[in-house]
Structures are given as structure tokens and as C-alpha cells.
Amino acid sequence: MALWVEKHRPAALDKLSFHSGLTEHLKQLASSGDLPHLLVYGPTGAGKRTRIAAVLREIYGPSAEKLKVSQRVFETPSRRKLDINIISSNYHIEVNPSDAGIYDRVVIQDLIKEIAQTQQVAASSARKFKIVVIHEADALSRDAQHALRRTMEKYMGNMRVILCSTSTGKIIGPVQSRCLLVRVAAPSVDEVVDVMNIVAKKEGISIPPSFAAQIASGSQRNLHRALLMLEASYVRQYPFAEAQDVLLPEWEEYIKVIAAAALKQQTPAQLLAIRKQLYELLTHCIPPPTILKGIAMQLIDGVEEELKAEIVHQAAFYEHRLQNGQKAIVHLEAFMAKFMSIYKRHLMELP
């Protein structure tokens, strides 16, 4: 009783369907009896979490899959209380410090100290160390990363850290050098199709090859998304038609609507309407850079060749502003206004 993504997630390293070379390495690491700190990185939907879970299982056996969620309260130096969700098994603990915002240092330090100071209790346990999995490590603040660097060394005796992030760019050098870097690349389109076929077989449905390819490319090689798309399409219409539309998330559709509106009419009133839609997107927690990028990509598709460079330039410019500024709406709107102005001039210059 679960979504297909979770239901058919391979649990063991042997069941993983792609990146077989990487799988081999991980298996050797896990069976060697010791494990360095790991930094697992790669795009979303490439299978990072699946691999981490599989490694944990390989090390500790199936009981590492018995997870429980608990909420822990941390107190900042300024006496603010933070509630953080923590997932743990007997052998490891998973945390997503982005919940803590700027106080992530406190969370990381407290948590790691706590884990490190208690020895592995279960006598039967294969390993004497525990593992701390930190998701979204690239969202860690500098402070937290520096704190991590010290604790990683200090408590090496009975604790290992697995960091999970989308890229290494935001991880500071000292932390990177203490870890074994594990890159999990996005699966190729064919690999995505393969996985979908495996899932379809288990579910007892059949996918027309062209539709599978369509989903795979529509998911941008994000396996997680591809499987969700497959299930959503299945819910909507089964048996699949060859030319069935691929379902995009609503916010992406919405971005398309905004782009279309900007291409259709260029007036201040239209700008006002677009602003409302932008607010709607922001309200739904879509990150502003994603919105900007999405709209820019849509706009590029809709204009002539000579305007494309200019639009990308403007998008980059306002993206920079977004990073500096505080009120995302102002910059998003400025980009839209700029585009509309440019596009209108272009239209008027046409004979």
C-alpha cells in the first residue's frame, strides 16, 4: 500500500538495476568491515537515498530497515526551541538539517555528540560504529560545516557520517577531503525506461515503448519523478494510449501559463495579472530561482532566434538580483517586465 516509488524501491545492493560498477564498489566497502565517511552526490532522482539505504542494510542486516520517526527538540544558544524530525534505526540516524535554518550548527553538533558518546548497545551488532546520515548537506551553513569537520575527526572511533547532497559545490574543502566521494549520476533515458518496465511488470501493467520513452524524457532523467509520472498517468488513463500526454506537475503547467501570457500581450495590466500568478507560485513554496529558470526556458521556446540570447542574459541578470535581494517577487516581476518590453519592441520592429 504505497506509491510505486516507495513500493518498488530496491532494498539490497544486489537489486539495484543501474550503475553496476558503483554498486560493486559499495558492496566491497560495506563488507570490508570498516567504512570511511561518505559524501554521496548526484542529481535528484538518481538513486542516492536508495543506495545509502542499501549500504546500511548491507552493513547491519535487514534490521537497519526498521525505521522510526521521532521529533526532537534542540535549543539554540538564544533559547529558541527547534523541532526537528529525525529518522532512526538501532544503528543509524538520519537528519535533514535544513529544517533548522540558520541554527543547523546546533543541531548537527548536539546530534553527533549524542550519537558518538553512546556506544553501540546491541551486542550482536556487526559493527562497532553508528552512522549519521545527513540529507541535503549542501544546504548546511558554513558554520555547521566547520563544526562538522571537527566532530568528524573527534568521534571517528564510533561514528561515521554519510553526507547526501546534489553537488559538491557548496561543501567546504576540509569536509570533502575527509570523505570518500561517491558520485551517483542520473540514469540514462534507457535506464529509466528499464526501471519503469520492471515496475510495470511487477504491477502487472504494460507500457507502450513510445510512451515509456516519452515519460523518461519528460522526467528529465529523474527516476523518482518518472515513476510518479507513470503512476499518475496510470491513475488517469489505463490502458495507456501511444500518444497520451505526459503529466507535468501543476506548478510547471502554471509556469507555462505565465510564459504564454507574457508572449500574448505586453501591457502593464498583463504585468499585474502575471504578478498575481507569480505570487501564487511563491505561495506554494516553489523556490524563486526555479520559477525564473522555468519561465525563461519557456520564453526562449516561444521567441525568435535573435532574442534568445538577450532573454537568457536578462534571466541570468535577475537571477543574480534574486540572490542579493530579499523580495523575490520584485525581481521576478522585473524580469517579466523586461522581457515584455524587449519582446514588444521586437514585434514593433518587424515589418
Binding site: M1, A2, L3, E6, T44, G45, R49, L67, V69, Q71, N85, E94, S98, D99, V133, H135, E136, A139, T166, H224, R225, L228, M229, E231, A232, V235, R236, L247, E250, W251, E253, Y254, V257, T267, P268, A269, Q270, L272, R275, K276, Y279, E280, T283, H284, C285, I286, T290, R321, Q326, K327, I329, V330, E333, A334, M336, A337, K338, M340, S341, K344
Partner: protein
């Protein structure tokens, strides 16, 4: 006035038996004033000491005789003390010294006075129990709200005197540590002010007609009769406890609630005077009387209104909205009325207060007029300005006939013609509307010559009618809030997209500027903020109507087909959006939401996966899968009939996942696609989970909630301002 107060308090503290006082005060009024003044040193000190000596009570005897004694009528004083008048009132403030003692002298509209008076009379009748036949009285608390200097307190005092009421006034103990041994028992208690307030209320009620009015002691039968008639009192709360402190506010509420629960005939009516601070409530003023509920709601939620300081915020809403509480709003004093009041003071000063028909010098009349226009409805300020300008004049030529133009020339407030000097002594905040209007309309001075073309090819443009710097200086709100307001509304004023784009770029630049300071050092943020808003405001005002951006083919008609004469200012959606985002963000910490997601097959999704992934990839599909009829039931069957379906967290997740109306709009033709979607969901629910009694109500609620989308609800909140207002102001 300070000395008056002091004497008054001394009177009370010496004994509760007013009998003793009468001869003393009768005999040598001025004597007692002066002596107490000397003994206590400076005025401010004296007052403070006196208050702490005798905590919380100021018993103003307001029967006419005591009043007569304590506050010598100006007429008598002026005639006798005219020569050393200026020496006398050194350090004495005119608005206290010349406090009106009759209704005619109040600088208020007579209708307003009648309104207050009517309430007081009703309340007293109720308190006296004369018309107890009509059931319990609802006249318990009167709230007088209005801007500072609108003569609210004075009005109460004067009316109390006229109706022969005693006033028991609450005054905040200023400094507990400085208090004397009399208050030792309170010193250890950190929130004792609140307790004192409760005590005060209690005492004020308990000792209703105590010895103070014990007519048995009076031998004067006539006097006794008169006093017996006027033995009512009112409780005046002019000085509110610190309601910004949460605990204090809470106990304040409890105290007031308890107070209104006491039947009127057992107690006394209370008058609370609340000075509204200049702030955001000005923007919403028009709506306030009609839609107070909504305004309160807004106040509670958005950042912008956190600065509002109106009666509805100060007084707990439980009390404020109850039937026992009435509110009378005071407007700023109109210039004509202010002129009258100032004239009275000058007449009193010139020693012939009794003769109403006295003529003032032309120059003085001009000055009064200028001051009345300048004071922006604050009568206290007006009197102070008058005193300042007069004091200088009287010093230079004391005793002589005043020469024209002397006063203004010396003080520098008013120039020779009595005309207000630009940037004079008083520059209070602009109205939010006016500030917005000035920026958004960005009017230029009328063309004197034909538009020239300068060397670099730019069109020469006329100067802006109002200086952007000055607008920014005089804002009623902080810079960033104002920026949001301008940003929200500018599109209506742009004639073409080029102009809008130019303006938008300035806003973007301004925001980037004002934010960058913040990340480095907090000290720099203030400057950065100013730069940021200057860039946006100036940039916009420059872009607006700039011929550079004209000629892009669009007409000069403002967008949206609105006439320029009547523009509706909108409130920024920013705050609403921010709030909702925070609300959605709260889902992550909601155990129920976590539960729902893990039940429907996304175990731990909320805590381990990146949030961005969840929002962008997982939730949209999740919502579709779960809400679909056949498969959804199979996939998450356990969820269907469970209470989770009806929980707020579930709705929250659904709403987070479903955005806008794009696809739904194509599928069903309902005007509100969101509602359509919800309707569908609801029918599914009904079909599958009919045994749940909660479903129907939850579904109805969900449908109702969905019909109003986030942005539309707020867009309704429009504010209308006519162009005339702006014209009028910029004169």
C-alpha cells in the same frame, strides 16, 4: 498646572476628609500653589513624587467650588497678574494652564461633545439605578479614540465638571524603585503594575461613596444636598498599562472583563482614552467602521499592521466588541475650531478674557490661522506653537505694544505674512495615502515653456512637484513597507510596458541594494535601506511619464481602464503570500501531515528527502494519485475512511500540491476551477466514506475555503482615494 495637580494630590493624600481642605483652599489659593511648588522643587519631580506618595489615585474634586479654588479662573488671574505674567508662566505649559473649564471653551465640535455627554448621562443614570426597570445597563465602558491632541481627555474632564462627577483617574506608577516606603510591599513584584491596576479598579468600585462625600459631616444643608446629587464618579483610564507585555495585556484583559461583568448600579462607568498613533491604520481608516471585524483580522495577521496602535488593538477585543463597551471616535481638530480655541487663549492672555468681543491684532489673527492649518489637528501642538511664538514676542517687547511681524520673525516658526515656512518646526508624518499618491502620480510642475531638447537628446522635463526625499522623510511606515505599497500599485500608473519595465528594474535594483547591507553588518543596513528605497522611488518617479518610454504604441489611458481621477490603491499581496508560505511551511512540522504521507506510501518523505523535491516532484503527483477515485482507493485504502482524510493537514497538503487553475480550467468550465477540483474530491469522499460523520462538514468547509483563492480575497481589499485629496494636500 503641575502645581495644580500637586496641590490636588496633596489634598487627597492629607486626608480623605475633604472637609478640612475647603477652608484652606478657599482662603489662599495662590498661596498654597506657590508654597507647594517651592517645597517640591521642580515641577516634574514634584509630580512624580506626589504620585508615588499616593499610588494610583488622583481624586479630582470637580464640584465647582473646589475647582474654582484649585484652578484659578483665567480672568481673575490675568487681570491681576498681567504685569508679571511672563515671569509666572515660565516653565508652565499653556495647554495645561489654559485648560478649558467649560464646554463652550472646548476646541471640539458641539455634536461630538453632545455625544460624549449623552453617554455619560445615560451611564450615570444607570449607575444611580434610576431606570433599573430596563434591565442591566450596557453603559459600562466608553472608549474615546482619536489622534493625539484631539481634546479627548479634556472633553471628559470638562464634561465631568459640568455633570458634577468626580473623576478617579488611573495613572501608571512611573518608577517603582523610586517609590517610597508606602509602596514597599509592591516593590518585589515584577508585574505589580497590573496588580495595582486591578487593585485600583477594585478600590474605585468598593469605596463608591465613601467619606469623601459623607454629607452627614456637612453642616451646610444646601451644599449637602447638592453634593448628594452629584455623588457619582467616573473612572478615567487615560494612561494605559503596558499592553505590549504579554502577561500585562492578559491581566489587563481579565481586569476589564471582570469590570464589565459587574452590574452598572453597583459600580461606576469607566472612560478609556486611547490615542491612536499615526500608522497604517490610516490606510484602512475608511473601511474601519464598516468592517471592523476584518480589519481586526488583518491586524492580527500581517506585518504591516503590527504597527497600528488604535483602540481595537489596545483594548482586548473581547471587551471592545462586547455590548458593554462603546466607542466614540474623535477626529483631528479642524482648523476653524482650532482657530477659535487659540483665539480664546490669546484673549485670556491679553487680560480681557471676560470680554469675548475683543479684537486681536491682524498679525496675531494671521498667526493663529497659520498655526491652525499647520498643527494637523493636534490642538495641544497648536497651543504649544502659539506659546513659542508668543513667548519670544513678549520677551522682546514686554509691556509695550507689539509691533507687527515681531513674533514670527524671532521664533522662526511663522514668517511675516503668517504663512507657513517650508520645512517649518512641525513636519509630522504624511498620510499613507498622500505619500503613495505623491509618488505614484509623480506630478510635474505645470509647463512654463515649451519642451526643449537638451544637448544629449533627452527631453527636458519639468521639476517634480514634490521632492522624493521629503516624501521618504515623512513616511508614516517604514521604508520597505512603503516600497511594497508602491510596487503593488505602480502598474496602474504606467502608460506602457516600457515604462513599467524601467520602473520594475529600479524596484529590483532598490531591493538588491537594501538587502545587501543586511547580510554583512546590521549597522550598514539602515543606510542601505535608505539607498534602496531612494533608488526605487526616484527611479519610478523618473520613469513615470518619461518621454523616453512613450511612443511604444499604447495609449495614454492608464491600464485597467481606470480613470485617473479615481484610483484604487491596493494593499500588497506580499504579506498574504508570505503568511501562506509560512503556513504551508508549517506542514513539515505537522506530525499529522507526516503521518498522512507515510501512510500513503511516502514514508519519511517529509523529514529525509529534500523539501524542494517533495514540493516540486512528489506532492503534485501524490495529490493526483490519492485524489483519484479507483486507484487512489486501492493505493491508499487505509487513508480513505480514516479521520486523516478530514484533517487540516490533509487539506493543507492538498492545497500545497494543487496550484492555480490551469488544467482544471480546461476540463471543467466552472469559473472557480479550484472549487471544481474540491467538489470532485468531495464527491469522491462522500462515495467512499459515507460512514464518517465528519465528512460532510469537512467537505463543505473545504469547498467554501477553496472558492476563495488566496490572492483574490485580498485583491478585494481596495482603498479608494480621489485625486482631489491629493490636489488639496499639495497646495
Amino acid at each position: 498646572m503641575d502645581s495644580d495637580l500637586e496641590a490636588l494630590i496633596n489634598e487627597c493624600s492629607q486626608s480623605t476628609d475633604s472637609q478640612e481642605l475647603r477652608p484652606v483652599t478657599m482662603a489662599a489659593p495662590t498661596q498654597s500653589l506657590h508654597s507647594s511648588q517651592k517645597s517640591n522643587g521642580s515641577h516634574g519631580n514634584g509630580r512624580r513624587r506626589a504620585i508615588s506618595d499616593r499610588p494610583n489615585f488622583k481624586l479630582a474634586r470637580s464640584n465647582s467650588q473646589a475647582q474654582h479654588v484649585l484652578r484659578p479662573p483665567e480672568a481673575a488671574k490675568c487681570t491681576s497678574d498681567l504685569v508679571n505674567d511672563s515671569a509666572d508662566d515660565r516653565g508652565e505649559v499653556w495647554w495645561q494652564r489654559y485648560e478649558p473649564c467649560s464646554v463652550e471653551e472646548l476646541a471640539l465640535h458641539s455634536a461630538k461633545i453632545a455625544q460624549v455627554k449623552g453617554w455619560l448621562e445615560m451611564a450615570i443614570n444607570a449607575a444611580a439605578g434610576t431606570d433599573s426597570s430596563q434591565g442591566p445597563s450596557i453603559f459600562r465602558i466608553l472608549v474615546l479614540e482619536g489622534p493625539p491632541g484631539a481634546c479627548k481627555s479634556t472633553c471628559v474632564r470638562v464634561l465631568a465638571k459640568e455633570l458634577e462627577l468626580d473623576i478617579v483617574e488611573w495613572i501608571n506608577p512611573l518608577d517603582l524603585r523610586a517609590s517610597t516606603a508606602a509602596q514597599l510591599e509592591m516593590e518585589d513584584d515584577p508585574v505589580s503594575i497590573v496588580r495595582q491596576f486591578e487593585d485600583f479598579l477594585l478600590r474605585a468600585e468598593k469605596y463608591s461613596g465613601l467619606a469623601l462625600y459623607d454629607t452627614a459631616d456637612r453642616h451646610d444643608a444646601e451644599e449637602a444636598k447638592r453634593l448628594a446629587f452629584s455623588r457619582h464618579k467616573i473612572i478615567l483610564v487615560d494612561d494605559l498599562p503596558n499592553i505590549l507585555h504579554r502577561d500585562t495585556r492578559e491581566s489587563f484583559r481579565v481586569a476589564l472583563q471582570r469590570f464589565i461583568s459587574i452590574p452598572a448600579h453597583c459600580s461606576f462607568p469607566m472612560v478609556i482614552v486611547v490615542s491612536e498613533c499615526f500608522g497604517m491604520q490610516q490606510v484602512l481608516e475608511d473601511e474601519a467602521p464598516r468592517q471592523r471585524g476584518r480589519r481586526l483580522h488583518d491586524n492580527a495577521e500581517s506585518n504591516a499592521e503590527a504597527t497600528v496602535w488604535s483602540a481595537s488593538d489596545v483594548i482586548p477585543s473581547v471587551v471592545y466588541n462586547s455590548v458593554f463597551c462603546h466607542s466614540i471616535k474623535f477626529n483631528p481638530v479642524a482648523p476653524t475650531i482650532a482657530t477659535k480655541g487659540l483665539r480664546r487663549i490669546l484673549q485670556l492672555r491679553s487680560g480681557r478674557g471676560s470680554q469675548k468681543s475683543i479684537k486681536l491684532a491682524q498679525q496675531q489673527t494671521d498667526m493663529i490661522k497659520a498655526i491652525s492649518n499647520e498643527c494637523q489637528g493636534d490642538f495641544r501642538l497648536a497651543v504649544t506653537m502659539l506659546q513659542l511664538s508668543q513667548a519670544a514676542a513678549e520677551n522682546t517687547d514686554a509691556g509695550k505694544k507689539r509691533r507687527r511681524g515681531q513674533a514670527g520673525a524671532v521664533t522662526g516658526i511663522i514668517d511675516n505674512n503668517g504663512k507657513q515656512r517650508a520645512g517649518g518646526a512641525c513636519r509630522s508624518a504624511l498620510d499613507m495615502f498622500h505619500a503613495l499618491g505623491k509618488v505614484l502620480y509623480a506630478k510635474r510642475e505645470a509647463t512654463k515653456s515649451s519642451n526643449g531638447v537638451s544637448a544629449d537628446g533627452n527631453m527636458m522635463r519639468e521639476k517634480l512637484e514634490s521632492d522624493p526625499d521629503e516624501i521618504l522623510d515623512r513616511l508614516p511606515v517604514d521604508l520597505s513597507t512603503f516600497g511594497l505599497f508602491v510596487h503593488e500599485n505602480y502598474t496602474d500608473f504606467c502608460s506602457g510596458i516600457d515604462e513599467a519595465a524601467a520602473a520594475a528594474e529600479y524596484f529590483s535594483e532598490g531591493d538588491a541594494l537594501s538587502s545587501s547591507g543586511r547580510s554583512f553588518q546590521s549597522a550598514a543596513s539602515g543606510v542601505a535601506n535608505v539607498y534602496g528605497s531612494m533608488v526605487s522611488v526616484r527611479g519610478y518617479m523618473n520613469a513615470r511619464g518619461n518621454p523616453l518610454y512613450a511612443g511604444d504604441g499604447t495609449t495614454n489611458e492608464p491600464a485597467g481602464g481606470r480613470r485617473w481621477s479615481m484610483a484604487a490603491f491596493r494593499k500588497p499581496l506580499f504579506f498574504e503570500s508570505y503568511k501562506r508560505r509560512a503556513m504551508f511551511g508549517g506542514v513539515w512540522h505537522d506530525p499529522v501531515a507526516t503521518d498522512i504521507l507515510s501512510k500513503s506510501g511516502l514514508p519519511m518523505a517529509l523529514s529525509s528527502a529534500s523539501r524542494q523535491t517533495v514540493v516540486q516532484d512528489v506532492l503534485p503527483y501524490w495529490a493526483q494519485i490519492v485524489s483519484s477515485s479507483q486507484h487512489g482507493a486501492a493505493t491508499v485504502g487505509s487513508l480513505e475512511s480514516s479521520w486523516l482524510r478530514n484533517s487540516a493537514a490533509y487539506n493543507q497538503l492538498m492545497r500545497l500540491a494543487t496550484i492555480g487553475d490551469n488544467r482544471e480550467g480546461t476540463h471543467n468550465d466552472t469559473s472557480s476551477a479550484m472549487a471544481g477540483k474540491w467538489g470532485k474530491l468531495v464527491t469522491v469522499e462522500r462515495g467512499l466514506a459515507t460512514h464518517s460523520p465528519l465528512t460532510a462538514t469537512a467537505a463543505a468547509a473545504a469547498a467554501a475555503a477553496a472558492t476563495a483563492t488566496a490572492t483574490d480575497a485580498l485583491a478585494e481589499l481596495k482603498l479608494v482615494l480621489s485625486d482631489d485629496d491629493i490636489e488639496d494636500f499639495s497646495d
